[in-house]
């Protein structure tokens, strides 16, 4: 059977495989097993799958309890609820206990376009980055999703996996291997480094082609680990270009743009521009329409690159 090329299906399939290999994996849902694509796991391992009901602040606490008695709990709901509804529970019961809890934030960013701002997750990276002991992963395609799930289940400690609903052709070269904290150079370039994460890495690739046609050499870097992000993993790319652009489906405050800017300010000292949601609550529409409206598009990225190079 051909493997799925969309992130949610890759998650669904790999979770079942991981559950088959590791009997400690326990899946918690909050009335959204269908939307989170965990039904396959529930069917395969009904004795290790529990639906807590519409009770999202209990996901982190129940998961922490399971982890503290040796299980590998994986809890699932939309990212906006997975992180924010029970954030104090994540802080106190998961991160402070260093409990082996896997938090899956589904349909992150503006993935749930039409549902509107109540269901858009624009501040999860900011909140989670500030938590000690927390690992934050954000896959760019189906293959990276699969690798992250295997890594996450084998790692002992809290992990936040931020998933979008994207699908598309594979981004990574055959044989690519995800490693915690490592950035991935997808295309080398001399003028501007473009750092992006999640499904917006696809947009960066498109941007690179467009700029090349204009004679501008763009370096494309995938940042799959938002935390920990060792400075060297940014510096080693930054030293070859004149400026940086960050692209993310998140508020420009506190996410990838902030993480990269922090490293540039302390170590690189070259100009940085951040593309993302400009510190505003979003609105309802198709995800792509919304991204474009908030400046997350190839066109706006190209403008940003021109202004960076004019500086």
């Amino acid at each position: 059977m051909a493997k799925a090329n969309d992130i949610p299906s890759a998650f669904s399939e790999t979770l079942v495989e991981a559950g088959a290999r590791y009997s400690g994996v326990v899946v918690l849902n909050a009335d959204l097993a269908d939307s989170c694509k965990t039904e396959a796991f529930c069917d395969a391992f009904p004795e290790r799958a529990f639906d807590l009901g519409v009770a999202e602040q209990s996901l982190p606490t129940f998961a922490a309890g399971l982890a503290l008695v040796g299980k590998i709990p994986v809890y699932n709901t939309f990212a906006v609820f997975a992180v924010h509804r029970g954030f104090d529970m994540i802080r106190q019961s998961v991160a402070y206990n260093r409990a082996n809890v896997k938090i899956i934030g589904h349909a992150a960013g503006q993935s749930m376009g039409y549902a509107g701002p109540s269901h858009h997750t624009i501040e999860d990276l900011a909140a989670m980055r500030a938590l000690p002991n927390m690992v934050i992963l954000c896959p760019s395609d189906a293959e990276e999703t699969r690798q992250m799930i295997w890594w996450m289940v084998e790692y002992e400690g809290p992990v936040y996996l931020r998933l979008t609903r994207a699908s598309g052709p594979p981004i990574h070269a055959p044989g690519y291997k995800f490693e915690l904290g490592k950035t991935e150079l997808l295309v080398d370039g001399r003028d501007v480094s473009v750092f992006s994460t999640g499904d917006l890495v696809m947009l960066s690739m498109e941007l690179q082609g467009k700029m090349l046609a204009e004679g501008i050499s763009v370096q494309v870097v995938n940042v799959p680990t938002l935390k920990p992000l060792p400075p060297q993993e940014i510096i080693r790319h930054a030293q070859h270009t004149r400026a940086a652009l960050t692209i993310e489906d998140h508020n420009i405050i506190g996410g990838l743009g902030s993480a990269v800017s922090e490293i540039y300010a302390e170590h690189v000292m070259r100009p940085v521009k951040r593309l993302g949601i400009p510190d505003t609550f979003t609105e309802s529409d198709d995800c792509d329409v919304l991204r474009e409206a908030y400046g997350i598009s190839v066109e706006r990225a190209a403008q940003a690159i021109h202004s960076l190079l004019d500086q």
């Binding site: 529990f50 602040q57 209990s58 606490t61 399971l66 503290l68 008695v69 104090d88 106190q92």
Partner: protein
């Protein structure tokens, strides 16, 4: 791998009989007295305000659990089959620390650094720093839901241990408690006993007419829990409630323990509102004299 072969046999977990178990009860009374003395000493020696009211209302319950009930092995704090204890009212940490020290989880010298930098004894329980602490706590309304997760793990593994959570009555104001209570009964978590320290005062004073939780018994019954009540300062009553709670099948149990805030130290007991106080030398000595008199009564029968 740790060798767990030397774990002592499971305690009998039997209710105490007021006639047949007189000696055991006297030992528990003396242990409770020692815990009260140490609570006063911890606050006085370190010149810090402690939640004396909240701590003193826990003493008999914590004594029963740690000296008579919990199946634990201090020499193997991580023994996978041990009973779990979660102090959901994290501000009761000093009482828990004293019980853990008395059972031999760590040496007494650790009390010198209580609440200080690099100490294993933090202001609130820290699972990663203190041997014997099964879960960090301090943000009210979380330890109880975490204990539900532990009981779910015990059920998935068909493990031999039981999970005990210790809550304050003020904590029943937290919505997270009732969310977890509903889930726990839906999942049939019968390896779980939640103890509510029902002293009728929260931090700011009496709860009646302000942040009332009544009818508390009916609330737990409505959430499909098995409910038991006991006198939280009477070892016989406590042990009977724990015994009955342990025997319940198919649903979780709650023990509503009637307690008195500041119990055993008249100066604290009669504090109208806040019992989060600093003891003067004079008051400290007065409290100790009172405890000496109680001890004499216990010894002389």
């Amino acid at each position: 791998m740790t060798d767990y072969k030397n774990i002592p046999d499971m305690p009998l977990k039997t209710p105490l009989d007021p006639l047949k178990d007189q000696l055991a009860i006297r030992d528990l009374q003396l242990a409770a007295l020692a815990i009260r003395r140490k609570i006063l000493y911890m606050g006085h020696r370190n010149r810090i305000k402690l939640h004396y009211g909240a701590l003193l209302s826990m003493v008999e319950l914590v004594t029963t659990l740690y000296m008579h009930w919990l199946n634990i092995a201090p020499e193997f704090p991580d023994w996978p089959d041990r009973d779990r204890f979660v102090l959901s009212k994290g501000h009761g940490a000093p009482a828990l620390y004293i019980a853990l020290w008395m059972r031999g989880f760590f040496p007494e010298s650790n009390f010198d650094g209580f609440r200080r930098l690099h100490s294993i004894l933090q202001g609130h329980p820290d699972h990663l720093k203190t041997p014997g602490v099964d879960c960090s706590s301090g943000s009210l309304g979380q330890g109880m839901p975490v204990s539900c997760g532990m009981a779910l793990g015990a059920k998935v593994d068909d493990a031999p241990y039981r999970v005990y959570a210790y809550m304050s009555d003020g904590e029943c104001n937290e919505g997270s408690i009732w969310e977890a209570a509903q889930i726990a009964s839906n999942l049939g978590l019968d390896r779980l006993t939640v103890i509510v320290d029902w002293n009728r005062k929260s931090s700011y004073g009496f709860m009646e007419g302000r942040n009332d939780i009544e009818p508390l018994c009916d609330k737990w019954l409505a959430f499909n829990w098995e409910v038991f009540e006991c006198d939280g300062h009477d070892f016989v009553s406590i042990s009977r409630a724990l015994f009955e709670a342990d025997a319940v099948q198919g649903r979780p149990s709650v023990v509503l323990a009637h307690t008195v805030k500041g119990k055993g130290i008249p100066y604290v007991e009669f504090y109208e509102t806040k019992a989060h106080i600093l003891l003067t030398q004079e008051k400290y000595e007065e409290c100790l004299t009172h405890l000496d008199q109680i001890e004499e009564k216990i010894i002389n029968g």
